[in-house]
């Protein structure tokens, strides 16, 4: 086993792992987008900015208060989620009666503000964030070397995605949520507080983005620009997966991450655009997306 398709296995598996890690972030972010879209009918353009905010909160906790990674993993999503709740209560809730496009435009403006503010104060050069002590080093799997932290990111994102899927598809609360997506007025008539549910959903969705930000901090540089290019790939993931299903968002996220990794091995020039090419092909064959319902 010296080469696979003419590629040394080390390089192939290395890129596949990188793809899987990118896929973990695509999945976490598109999952949050799907949850928010299902409930609010808003495409949250600020998702990338909130992911960046999560990473920055973790970095600020470490540098200003000495609070480490594990507490940040809990605190940063809470901070980002709370920020999201404030945004929803004060701004987004004013737009529900209007065309959904206004939600997109409002969150676009919010993304500009958040990113612009961090850029103003911290510049465009990234800040390093150390890997927590517990997850330093790596495992030699025989065919490749797996850094512990990267393995942890993949496992953590899988667990979060599965838990969210379970909560929405298999629990009573999730059933209320899905019912409110279909017919909010009727669900409200049953005595369920729908506005509260909408706020909580937005808070949860952006908290997922914040969590992804903390997970990303030790791998990528913590920089104000880290969200703005990622968000467009995630949009493409969402179009490919179709907005109908949570599962679609998650599976497409991992799948496209892996595909991107493979492209990097065999034809690196196309790795940046392969997701968009796939999107074009899927739109030609199945306009509603792979897992979406036509409506």
């Amino acid at each position: 086993m010296s080469t696979i398709f003419g590629i040394p296995p080390q390089a192939l598996f290395g890129q596949l792992l990188l793809g899987l890690i990118n896929g973990s972030f695509y999945a976490l972010l598109s999952l949050g987008l799907a949850v928010i879209f299902g409930m609010l009918n808003v495409i949250n353009f600020a998702h990338g900015a909130l992911y960046m905010l999560g990473a920055f909160v973790a970095w600020l906790l470490l540098t200003t208060a000495g609070i480490g990674y594990w507490w940040a993993l809990l605190l940063a999503p809470l901070v980002v989620g709370a920020f999201g709740v404030v945004l929803e209560k004060t701004l987004l809730s004013r737009l529900y009666k209007l065309d959904h496009l206004y939600g997109l435009l409002l969150t676009f403006g919010l993304a500009l503000i958040v990113e612009g503010a961090f850029r103003h104060f911290y510049g465009v050069s990234g800040q390093p964030y150390p890997i927590p002590d517990l997850l330093r080093g790596g495992q030699n799997l025989g065919f490749m070397f797996l850094p512990n932290y990267r393995g942890w990111v993949v496992v953590a994102s899988l667990v979060v995605c599965l838990a969210t899927w379970y909560a929405i598809e298999r629990t009573k609360l999730g059933a209320y949520l899905r019912a409110a997506t279909e017919n909010p007025v009727l669900v409200q008539a049953f005595g369920i507080n729908v506005p509260l549910m909408i706020t909580a959903t937005y808070g949860f969705g952006v908290a997922l983005a914040g969590l992804a930000g903390v997970l990303a901090a030790p791998i990528y540089q913590v920089s104000p620009l880290m969200g703005s290019n990622l968000i467009i790939v995630v949009f493409a993931v969402v179009v490919i997966g179709g907005m109908g299903s949570i599962l679609g968002a998650v599976l497409t996220g991992y799948g496209l991450g892996l595909l991107e990794g493979l492209t990097k091995v065999f034809y690196p020039e196309a790795s940046n655009i392969v997701v968009f090419v796939i999107m074009a092909v899927v739109l030609l064959i199945k306009p509603a997306g792979l897992f979406g319902r036509e409506r």
Binding site: D99, L106, G109, E269, F276, P287
Partner: protein
């Protein structure tokens, strides 16, 4: 989609009669006089920048304001044409008018491909698809050989228009840009007031009904998309000649956001709104660049304020006030 966005547009859109209305013609005459005199009062390069972006915003508005399609990827047409024009003029040595024409043709072709894909979905999906497709153009501009990567294409010669008029002269360049702008503006004016424009408005108001009346709405939407892309390309190509460069800034998705803001600020669905919006945003950016305030934050705040407080935009609010409707 009988939501408020439609109601807002209906109030402020150009009159539904076949001919342009009197106040519109008067406003056009006033605009023309201002633009002819402008370079004697203001810095000509600044006014040319405004004109290029005004044409870009008008082209974008043709789609959102009159066909109800929010494209978030218009930077691809603007920037793509800028690259093609810059390359053909600088490397192939073509005269500027031919370079701009090729840039426009490129954008129209690109618009046909992107439009054909994007009109398969509606609303926010349409916006996301156009955004994703335009990001593809961005990465190509970053990676292809002829685009010069991070540096872009610099020092593009302005050349001689029709082999006679030296565009190195600021006033010659200015009036050329003004002519291009007016051409684009009149095309949009005529489109909006043509039977074709009426069908677009019908699609914007109620697409299922337009379909039931027998219109092949996809066909109309695609034609509007191509026209809008071509005019955005005309603006981009002209910009490349004026500033003698094409860079990644032109194809970045932030540029698509900027043109949305210009249109929203001036007034979606009004003919003059995008011109006013472009002038304001360009002025603001020039002014802020010298100050200590972070530009994106200010732009973002304006964006949020527009969406929350005055969705009709400046020209839309004025038009609504004049026609005696409640503000």
């Amino acid at each position: 989609m009988a939501t408020e966005i439609d109601a807002v547009r209906r109030d402020t859109a150009a009159p539904a009669t076949g001919r342009p209305a009197m106040p519109g013609l008067l406003a056009l005459a006033a605009l023309l006089l201002v633009l002819i005199a402008a370079p004697y009062v203001l810095y000509p390069v600044f006014v040319m920048k405004v004109l290029c972006f005004a044409l870009f915003a008008c082209a974008f508005n043709l789609l959102i304001g009159f066909a109800g399609l929010l494209s978030f990827g218009h930077a691809a047409f603007f920037g793509g044409a800028a690259y093609i024009t810059a390359h053909t003029v600088k490397v192939w040595g073509l005269p500027p008018e031919l370079g701009i024409l090729l840039g426009t043709a490129f954008s129209a072709t690109l618009g046909l491909a992107f439009g054909a894909l994007a009109i398969r979905r509606q609303g926010i999906y349409f916006a996301m698809i156009t955004l994703a497709l335009s990001q593809m153009v961005f990465f190509m501009a970053l990676q292809l050989k002829f685009t010069g990567g991070e540096d872009g294409i610099q020092a593009v010669p302005r050349g001689h228009l029709f082999g006679m008029i030296d565009l190195g002269q600021p006033m010659a360049m200015y009036y050329t840009v003004l002519a291009v702008f007016l051409f684009g503006f009149v095309v949009i004016w005529r489109t909006v007031h043509s039977p074709f424009g009426q069908v677009l408005k019908a699609i914007r108001e109620n697409e299922p009904r337009a379909i039931s009346l027998g219109y092949r709405t996809d066909h109309y939407k695609l034609m509007a998309f191509v026209l809008s892309a071509a005019l955005a390309g005309l603006a981009g190509g002209t910009k490349a000649i004026v500033f003698q460069l094409a860079t990644l800034t032109d194809v970045q998705w932030q540029m698509s956001g900027a043109v949305v803001l210009m249109t929203l600020l001036g007034g979606i669905g009004t003919l003059f709104g995008p011109v006013v919006g472009a002038a304001l945003v360009v002025t603001l950016e020039n002014y802020l660049a010298a100050s200590n305030l972070p530009v994106p934050v200010v732009i973002g705040v304006i964006f949020v304020a527009c969406v929350l407080l005055f969705r009709r935009g400046i020209v839309g609010e004025i038009a609504a006030r004049f026609s005696g409707k409640r503000p």
